[in-house]
């Protein structure tokens, strides 16, 4: 595969991410697209640890670690400081997990987007509070086991649709991306970087530890999530113009679920129901895209 990016790394080896960590892969690609004139805010998440403990850093860009809820707010402050110093070139990025985006960080994100702060917000989504030990978040998918939704009480709420929530803000750019589709991911980050105003990218980042999959399946699982239409790749500009990037053959949900320990408690009837839900969501997305094409 050829990635049309600078063949330079902005990360160091020796970080302490789990073997096979999708979030580490996501960071690698995103930084390649952003380059060194970037300031990153990292609210509490796995990357708070992966970025290195005192006195180390695993990243080659300036990083400000922040409290859990503050991703959108800290970035707003960083942007304001750079602007007032006359620097409108440096990219400000918030790099947050799903917990710090969908739940506790949602207010600050919504506020920043409503103000159309000029920054990029990247949520790398491993679908639970992984750093604290696999507790459920509002991004945990319907049907998943987590430590707070254990097998008999598996999560019976749907995954919150964060992209659509932000699209409702008329965010200038929102997109989904996946570590299994690096060219698409890099293209979207570069596209976002070139725009002014708020941009949001929702990256599907596999977590072998929390999903109970072998570490070597990280990329493959991420690819299957896209191919089953559970995590469709699409972008929305200005909150109104939809582009679906990929219309896959539509592998069965049960094939995807069957590879992950976090879904093994589900019965056949549950899987059928989930397949219907996925098909329905995919159909709704396609309708929106048809109604509001780019």
């Amino acid at each position: 595969m050829e990635l049309d990016v600078v063949d330079r790394e902005y990360m160091y080896c020796g970080h302490v991410a789990c073997a096979g960590c999708g979030a580490a892969i996501a960071m690698r690609f995103v930084l390649k697209a952003l380059g060194e004139k970037t300031v990153m805010a990292i609210p509490a998440c796995c990357w708070s640890i992966i970025a290195g403990a005192y006195p180390q850093s695993s990243l080659q860009i300036p990083v400000i670690h922040t409290a859990f809820e503050t991703g959108g707010a800290v970035a707003s402050g960083v942007r304001a400081a750079l602007d007032v110093k006359g620097d409108t070139e440096t990219t400000v990025i918030t790099w947050a997990g799903d917990g710090g985006t969908f739940d506790i960080g949602f207010q600050a994100l919504s506020g920043a987007v409503e103000r159309n702060e000029d920054f990029l917000y990247v949520c790398y989504d491993n679908e639970a509070y992984m750093n604290t030990g696999v507790q459920r978040s509002s991004s945990t998918p319907y049907g998943a086991w987590t430590t707070t939704t254990p097998s008999r009480e598996w999560k019976k709420m749907r995954k919150k649709n964060i992209v659509e929530a932000l699209v409702a803000h008329r965010i200038p750019y929102a997109a989904t991306a996946s570590i299994a589709y690096p060219e698409d991911l890099v293209r979207k980050v570069k596209k976002a970087k070139a725009m002014k105003g708020s941009k949001f990218i929702h990256i599907f980042a596999s977590c072998p530890t929390g999903w109970r999959i072998p570490s070597e399946m990280s990329i493959k699982i991420a690819r299957m999530a896209v191919q089953t239409n559970i995590f469709p790749l699409y972008e929305v500009e200005g909150g109104v113009r939809y582009t679906i990037n990929l219309s896959p053959r539509g592998y069965l949900v049960k094939e995807y679920f069957g590879l992950q320990g976090r879904f093994k408690h589900l019965a056949e009837s549950d899987l059928d129901q989930i397949q219907q839900m996925v098909d329905e969501d995919w159909e709704f997305l396609q309708r929106r895209a048809r109604a509001m094409p780019a």
Binding site: E9, S58, E216
Partner: protein, 590 residues
């Protein structure tokens, strides 16, 4: 008044001044990935053991000369094989499970034709010259191949050929609409270029074996099957009943003559089919008669289909039982062969006994039912002192070692098997001369492709291929996420109507663009084609580029053994195995 300056107050905050590179996360590992190139099924199926996955990889990258040279390491006849080989590689091609097999033969031919058109000279690895000389009986594919490989190994060869031109069955048994003589000539010329001496118009007899001992250190016998072994039909010895081989020889010499009216060709193998197709081109109406079912015919399905498209009438399940001459023509009686007790009996006398008969009137009859050695000495002797290898037989005599190869000792009579026997003979003789008889079997095993029957000369010469694992890549080990369905190349051909009007080559050449596109479809099973997935997806940046042939290596100081690289390698060129501990350095082949 200036404002007060204060000494800096104590400021010790969490911030960074080092990188995480101090953490050698390689210590976490309990599984270890490594680059482990494996064997593709096509290479195993190829009797000549060509490194097909690598050939196609190079071709897809536009490195046509390198691809061609990669073929030549294992087979001096890409232009020939690309045209007439039965391509077992395509039958076992893993891509067939995905969409369609790669048209490997078309690319092989393309490479040879391109090299010849551009008058390229190959750069081949050769060992230093040795004193031993080998005499070769027959300049057919096995003899030429044996001489070629012996020359690569440093030995001088003299080939003694009865006909006026070298090539054997390639020159005299394969019509030019399948193999133009120019393509063959180019490849033979390259063999001569290595220093091999071909003495044409020089038939040899039995005494040759003993006589050669005084001038040569070994003899290779590759005389081929020159004699039709008969139909067991009454009247087949009548004057005028001809051999299909003879017809082919005449056609190859340019004096096939003209034919008209019905002409019978009896037999079902390659020679029979081609004889029939020549009959059509010479003006006759060819009737191909075969005693067993059509699906039992040794000729390929494609060959049979093309013959029928050209107007050959195929009558299967009919045995020739009697030939009678009548007013300058023949009456040929055929009987329906009913298989008693299954296929095994179909060809037997009892099988032929039953069934209704049919008598046809034909102007000429050509027998092409099966062929044997023209003379007994051309076959290896039975008994002791004989080493039977996969494609050749090594005989030890007081007058020196003799190797028998080619069609006469191979149940599969194909050009690829002929090349295989030449290679095997060359390696066996090399070992015999240098290390002794006991070294032969172990070394042949070491050089075998995928641990099976084909041999790799590159492995014998300790090239990079000798490091490759003999594990054969299965389709289930290919990560097909990285491939899209795409149709197989359609071989451009002369229009059906044009074919039977001349002896012009039917398969037309393909463009470089088409060749590359087809070669790109190859999964490159088991070998690294620099796709870079391993490096791209490593969460720990533990795959680094370097100057090694693979272009990259794993930094085991940081590799956590997650195994993503191994799974995302589309072609199973990596292996994940248990970490043995810091002392264990094995498996890293740099």
């Amino acid at each position: 008044m200036s404002h007060k300056h204060f000494k800096d107050s104590p400021l010790f905050i969490p911030s960074s001044y080092l990188t995480t590179e101090a953490n050698k996360t390689g210590s976490w590992r309990f599984l270890r990935p490594r680059y482990d190139e494996k064997t593709a099924p096509c290479a195993v199926a190829c009797p000549a053991g060509e490194d097909i996955s690598r050939v196609l990889m190079l071709a897809s990258q536009g490195l046509f000369k390198e691809a061609w040279e990669t073929v030549l390491v294992e087979n001096p006849f890409p232009g020939v094989c690309g045209r007439i080989c039965h391509h077992p590689c395509e039958t076992v091609c893993n891509r067939a499970h995905f969409d369609e097999a790669i048209a490997t033969h078309a690319i092989e031919r393309f490479l040879a034709d391109t090299a010849s058109r551009n008058e390229l000279k190959p750069r081949l690895d050769r060992l230093p010259a040795k004193r031993e000389r080998i005499a070769v009986a027959g300049a057919g594919p096995s003899g030429l191949a044996a001489a070629y490989f012996l020359a690569l190994l440093g030995y001088g060869c003299d080939i003694y050929e009865a006909m006026g031109e070298p090539g054997g069955v390639l020159r005299w048994g394969v019509p030019s609409y399948r193999l133009p003589s120019g393509a063959l000539r180019n490849e033979i010329a390259q063999i001569v270029e290595l220093g091999v001496r071909i003495h044409c118009g020089n038939p040899v007899g039995e005494e040759f074996l003993g006589r050669a001992a005084s001038t040569h250190d070994a003899v290779f016998v590759g005389c081929g099957c020159g004699r039709e072994h008969g139909l067991a039909a009454a009247g087949e010895d009548l004057p005028g009943v001809e051999d299909g081989l003879e017809l082919l020889r005449k056609v190859a010499a340019g004096n096939g003559g003209a034919l008209e009216g019905p002409v019978a060709v009896i037999g079902g193998g390659y020679a029979a089919i081609e004889a029939a197709r020549c009959v059509v081109r010479l003006g006759g109406k060819a009737i191909l008669i075969y005693r067993r079912r059509r699906e039992d015919m040794p000729a390929s399905r494609e060959q049979i289909a093309m013959a029928m498209e050209e107007g050959v009438e195929v009558r299967a399940g009919m045995a020739a039982v009697r030939i009678e001459a009548q007013s300058g023509e023949f009456l040929l009686t055929l009987r329906e062969a009913q298989a008693e007790g299954g296929d095994a009996n179909a060809g037997t006398a009892s099988g032929r006994a039953a069934g209704k008969t049919d008598t046809i009137r034909v102007g000429r009859i050509f027998r092409a039912g099966g062929f044997d050695a023209a003379e007994q000495w051309m076959l290896p002797p039975p008994g002791d002192g004989v080493l039977r290898l996969n494609n050749s037989v090594l005989v030890f005599t007081e007058a020196g070692p003799r190797v028998f190869g080619g069609d006469l000792v191979n149940t599969s009579k194909s050009v690829a098997h002929a090349v295989a026997s030449g290679k095997e003979a060359a390696i066996a003789l090399d070992l015999l001369f240098r290390e002794g008889i006991d070294s032969i079997r172990p070394e042949l095993e070491r050089c075998s492709v995928g641990g099976r029957r084909s041999l790799s000369m590159e492995a014998h010469m300790n090239g990079p291929r000798s490091l490759r694992s003999s594990a054969v890549v299965r389709y289930s080990e290919i990560n097909t996420d990285y491939f899209r369905f795409s149709p197989r190349l359609t071989q451009p051909r002369l229009l059906k109507g044009e074919r039977s009007r001349s002896f012009a080559e039917i398969d037309l050449k393909i463009s470089a663009n088409l060749a590359m596109r087809e070669a790109e479809r190859c999964f490159n099973c088991g070998i690294c084609n620099q796709c870079d997935n391993c490096r791209l997806f490593c969460p720990d940046l533990a795959v680094v580029r370097d100057q090694s042939p693979l272009g990259r290596r794993i930094d085991y100081d940081y590799c956590k053994g997650c195994g993503i690289c191994v799974v995302e390698c589309p072609r199973n060129a990596m292996t994940l195995e248990e970490e043995q501990g810091p002392e264990y350095r094995g498996g890293e082949k740099d």
